[in-house]
Amino acid sequence: MQFLEDPVLWIAEWLREVLLGWGASELVTNMTLNFLGAFVVGAMIMVIFILLTWIERKAAARFQDRIGPNRVGPFGLIQPIADAVKMLTKEDTRPKGADVVGYVLAPIVSVFSVLMTWAVVPFTQKWIGADLSVGVMYVAAAGSFGIVAVLLAGWSSNNKYSLIGAFRGVAQLISYEVPLFLSLLVPVFLARSMGVNDIITSQTAVLFAIPWLNIPIRGFFVLAAPLSVVIYFISSLAEVGRAPFDLIEAESELVAGYHVEYSGMKFGLFQAAEFLHSFTFAALMALMFFGGWQGPWVGTNNLTGWLLGGFYFMLKTFFFYMMVMWSRLTFPRIRIDQMMNLNWKFMVPVSLVLLMGMPLIDYGLRGQELWLKYLVLFLFNLIVGLIAFAWAARADRRVKTHTRVRFEGRPVAVMPQAPAAAEDETAG
């Protein structure tokens, strides 16, 4: 095998031969290679986190009309390293009365939950840690540990704010897991498989080709279920607990939510978990709805296969990560009742309607052309979306007229003039 055809497999084959040559048994070789693979995945994600902090700071600065880090290295690129050194050398205090085991375990579990997700993420067609047959559910399972980490951190800190923050956080996380799972059910339904690579390969089906250019339009699931993408995106924003859904760490009320008491590297780990969660959800969005490593000129088994495939996957992921940051830096925080209403009274019912309608359409069009199926599903999504938004807007208006404080006259910052008061008295 040529090195350029697939460097990762080439190195793996080479290592296998070396190890077998040293007299290691098949099992030990297998274990070593898998462990190395797992380590490479984990380390790579942590490196991506370091990069993400730079991107975040730079992008936030640009959104707020600042320059951002620009002193350490070109464009401030070395800044994250400096941050990491600062984090590592900061004093790590533990509050009085904290539960030692829980206090130390919580940040570890938090990062653990994110890193586990990446086992089933295909970076290219071949570079996937474990192509599990239950991929999508596995992602959900890995995410469950994140909730445990939040509760654990909140409880073990021995602080009222962190406990309240943890409760809010858990209520938010479990609530938004419902529309998240329901919207992840849609790609599973469209692909008829829960394996992540299966979902991507079933998005390669050509819907139609643009006639005179002969460019095939592939059936990315976003075309069949645009509304599910919207629901997925909103609920993933809530799942990572970033603005506009950052009620977990509402600074004005709860200081910093469940991790008030954390300092130094333990806080750094929570930060890493938050950033990587956003990144993971962005990656999943790319995989589930936008074809993952699919793109123009992606071959199967050569240089373009891994080079272009990996490039497209990362491009899509960073694009969606940009969208996460965009919403974070643009929207104001919403209230907790608004957040719960948005979830239970809008997103969950809409996803349920989608999940009832889409299978019926699919069944009705069984054996029909693929493009027709996609077209009808797209129109159905559009109609449901329009009706839902119109209905929500109406309900919103109704609520507003009840609670709006009517203020007559122009709002000014000066005291009313005395004659006006005198007039009032005479009138009274």
Binding site: D99, G102, S133, V134, A140, A141, A142, F145, W155, V170
Partner: protein
């Protein structure tokens, strides 16, 4: 010993050890945390049985929902998060005897089962197992009626949960 047996023994030790910790911890939250460890061990054993869907369900439902629910229940109900409770009352001896008798008779009964000391047939038939599962759950020849009954039961459970946890009826306009 085969490596998979070693992995099984580690899993079994994890399940049993943390199960003992669940009942002996004096701090209820610690007990709940060990419960999570027990459930992870059970998921591990499901993986070894090649029942992958059950393994992930075990984590999603039991750790992601039920363990969280238990911890929240502990936190909501009483002021027990910080201090300790007595793990045993004076019925502990009777309970221990009863559980020994129950598990002993279960093992005794199972030892007459022909498949008790046989290796299970390989589940990997080349077919996508979850597809078979879905087909069994939702076809009339399979388990359609029990599935629908389960659905109705879950609806009843939801209504009952809301009714009991939320007695004040406040109709929303």
């Amino acid at each position: 010993m085969e490596p998979i047996q070693i992995v099984f023994l580690i899993g079994a030790a994890l399940v049993l050890g943390s199960a003992v910790m669940v009942v002996t911890r004096r701090n209820l939250i610690h007990a709940a945390l060990f419960l999570i460890l027990t459930l992870s061990g059970v998921a591990m054993i499901f993986v070894l049985l090649e029942a992958f869907y059950w393994a992930v369900i075990q984590v999603v439902v039991y750790i992601g929902a039920i363990a969280i629910l238990i911890i929240m229940a502990i936190m909501v109900t009483r002021n027990v998060t910080g201090d300790t409770v007595k793990p045993f009352n004076n019925m502990a001896v009777w309970a221990a005897m009863l559980s020994v008798v129950a598990s002993g008779s279960l093992i005794w009964a199972l030892s007459y089962w022909p498949a008790f000391d046989q290796t299970a047939p390989v589940a990997d038939t080349g077919e996508y197992v979850i597809r078979l599962l879905g087909l069994e759950l939702f076809s009339a020849e399979g388990y359609l009626i029990p599935t629908m009954i389960a659905s109705v039961l879950l609806l009843a459970a939801l209504i009952a949960a809301i009714k009991s946890a939320f007695p004040i009826s406040q109709e929303e306009e």
